[in-house]
Amino acid sequence: MISLTIDPKKIQEARKNASDIVKSLGWLLEDYSSVTIERTVLRLMGIDGADKDGAPIPNIIVEHLREKKAIERGAAYWIANAMAFKDLSAQEIANQVSKGELDLTQIEVQSPKKVFDILDKLTDKMLLHITKQNQFRKEAFKKFGPRKAPSVYVIVATGNIYDDVAQAKAASREGADIIAVIRTTAQSLLDYVPYGATTVGFGGTYATQENFRIMRKGLDEVGEEIGKYISLTNYASGLCMPEIAAMGAIERLDVMLNDAIYGILFRDINMKRTLLDQYFSRMINAFAGIEIQTGEDNYLTTSDAIEKAYTVTASQLINEQFAILSGIKPEKMGLGHAYEINPEIEGSFVYELSHALLTKTLFPDAPVKYMPPTKFASGNIFKTYAMNTLFNFIGGLTNQGVQLLGMMTEAIHTPHLVDRALAIENADYVFKAVKGLNEEISIKKDGFINKRANKVLDEASGFLKKVSEDGLFTAIENGDFADMPRPENGGKGLEGVFKKSSEYLNPFMDKMKAKLGL
């Protein structure tokens, strides 16, 4: 059985350093909210739709409350108050606001009991729906058998949800376990979630609730046919983290990209905004039984995978601590790792084996999201295919949780139907071929692989120590993360962050916390 020799104390220490970093942010997570958090609340209350110009109703309501300087109390209260007064549904109230027919802050204050009753009912209703979705998923896995490990994860990214569905179904038949619908370019920078079914995206398809629904339906259909539950995933990270998480919970996505700091570093989203949003977003994921996946691969697409290996480890440990804070269980923490080592390097496979094992060793229960070579993929599709073969080799050998299959055309275009099929075939073949190898070999105790893993862990731990001393904000400002200095009050979306008033209400967060024992 292959395993590393690492002093458990060292691991504990690294974890403690990460925990110190995360714990110091309690003030932010407790006292602040953001526009997207409020929009999430509205969505969870059952409000959806867009006006004739395409502006999503939840955005209109939140803007309305901001204008009226009433958002600090939380959107939930205002809607419930109006519902109590008008005896209309949340959606009906919202529609009136969106048409400019209603000013929520002008409505007479209703009795707290009435308002709380309404909120309670709405909250319970939605949480029940989400719980049922979770139940459905669990039963489906019971009926068809659990997801295999490594799970075969492939992306669809045509820009057209209908082409996406056809391709996702084809992939499912070919053996995919998880389908990711890639979002259109930089959707993470939109401070709203587009509405409806869409057919025009760049390098991906809009993440909309309708698109989620269409894909979920397609996968359920093909799953029934082939006798397997096909997992669906999309991206939460960005300016709408909790909203998309909520949509995912409602539409029964099973896995969601959700990185605590990706938005800050790689999308220049304000740090307070992201940290706040991820907190609620992950809580929704946790409640819905959705597995999160983090984006450590992003570190390696810009920096060297050997030199900066420790940044992956450090980020994994931070993501883990944030996940714990939101109630996510270890077996739902799909921490990221990527095979981005320069293929020209001697022993690239040996390095990678060390790095991949380190992740496994640190997070034995996590369904690690293992990413393929992308940076060194070239227009030589055959070479890229060979690199993906070794990637699948390590995935199989180290028994990774989720194998995000590499595409031979990575350097050329978003995956074609054929590319995906060949990728799945490759993974199937390699996983089968190396089955059992794991049990047959062991790693030399004092060899390079162990030394290397220890070194990376030491570097990560030292780095985390330093960050915990400087404070996360300062460290990010200094460019300690991914060489990307981001000012505390810069970046996108800071204007959407606000301090809660003492009367602030987020009934969903409250109930979820209770259920998650937070």
């Binding site: 045509t158 820009g159 079914a197 227009g379 350097a411 275009h413 074609h416 139907l417 054929v418």
Partner: protein, 252 residues
């Protein structure tokens, strides 16, 4: 709503309906630079392709360059108009075939097979004929009501024909694996011509097989049936059994 395919105008599919996207890989005696790239582009252009992306070029030495490209075609094919000749008899398993022969033919079927002329690739014909069979389907030798004789590799056409006549064969099975310079066409044609010359073409079934053989080609070459990659004894046995049962039914 979902993607709708018009069967009368199908076109290669990359990731969007009718994008016509295809992958190409080839070498040219051209330099590994922008000039070579342009030469590669021109080759593809002359093939009617558009949106040509030469995504990789690599110097192979000796003046050659390798190109990998993606490009779109605007040709379409009318799927509804395509007619192909395929073996249409249903496929029975060994037990069924044996029972079928017993019931409908009432005598033993005799079959002679070989890899003819220069071809020494016996694995294919063995897969069909040998006791052991292939991929969990027993070979013809195991069939109760089939007498199968496998002459093996590099059997001259004359010898095969003679043996078949000698045992009064119901069918001849020929395997051709090597296809370089269309050697398989030459060899298969030779056998048929020989059988015609000797006036025995209609005395038995002539069946051929191999990875580059299909039923259509076989018919074209004057054979009764052809079987490609992934065929099994079951396919051939069923075909032969049905043929003779049919003949008996028709009173021939």
């Amino acid at each position: 709503m979902s993607i709708k395919i018009d069967e009368t105008k199908i076109r290669p599919y990359g990731d969007s309906l009718d994008d016509g996207r295809m992958q190409f890989s080839f070498a040219l005696p051209a330099p590994c630079n922008e000039k070579g790239k342009e030469a590669a582009t021109q080759v593809l252009k002359q093939m009617g392709l558009h949106d040509i992306e030469i995504c990789y070029l690599n110097d192979l030495g000796e003046g050659f360059t390798h190109f990998v490209a993606y490009a779109s075609t605007s040709v379409t094919v009318d799927l509804t108009k395509i007619q192909v000749k395929i073996v249409e008899t249903p496929v029975m398993n060994m037990e069924e075939t044996d029972a079928f022969i017993e019931e409908n033919i009432g005598r033993e079927i005799s079959i002679v097979g070989a890899c003819i002329e220069s071809d020494a690739h016996t694995v294919g014909i063995d897969a069909i004929m040998n006791m052991k069979g292939y991929n969990h389907r027993y070979g013809l030798e195991r069939y109760k009501h089939i007498e199968a004789i496998n002459l093996g590799a590099q059997v001259p056409c004359e010898e095969l024909l003679q043996k078949a006549l000698e045992v009064n064969a119901d069918a001849i099975l020929v395997s051709q694996i090597v296809t370089q310079k269309n050697i398989h066409i030459k060899n298969l044609t030779k056998l048929i011509e020989l059988s015609e010359a000797e006036g025995v073409r209609d005395k038995m079934l002539f069946i051929c097989g191999g990875p580059r053989i299909n039923h259509e080609l076989a018919i074209e070459l004057g054979y009764d049936a052809g079987f490609g990659s992934g065929s099994y004894a079951t396919d051939v046995a069923s075909f032969i059994a049905f043929h003779y049962a049919d003949k008996i039914k028709k009173g021939e």
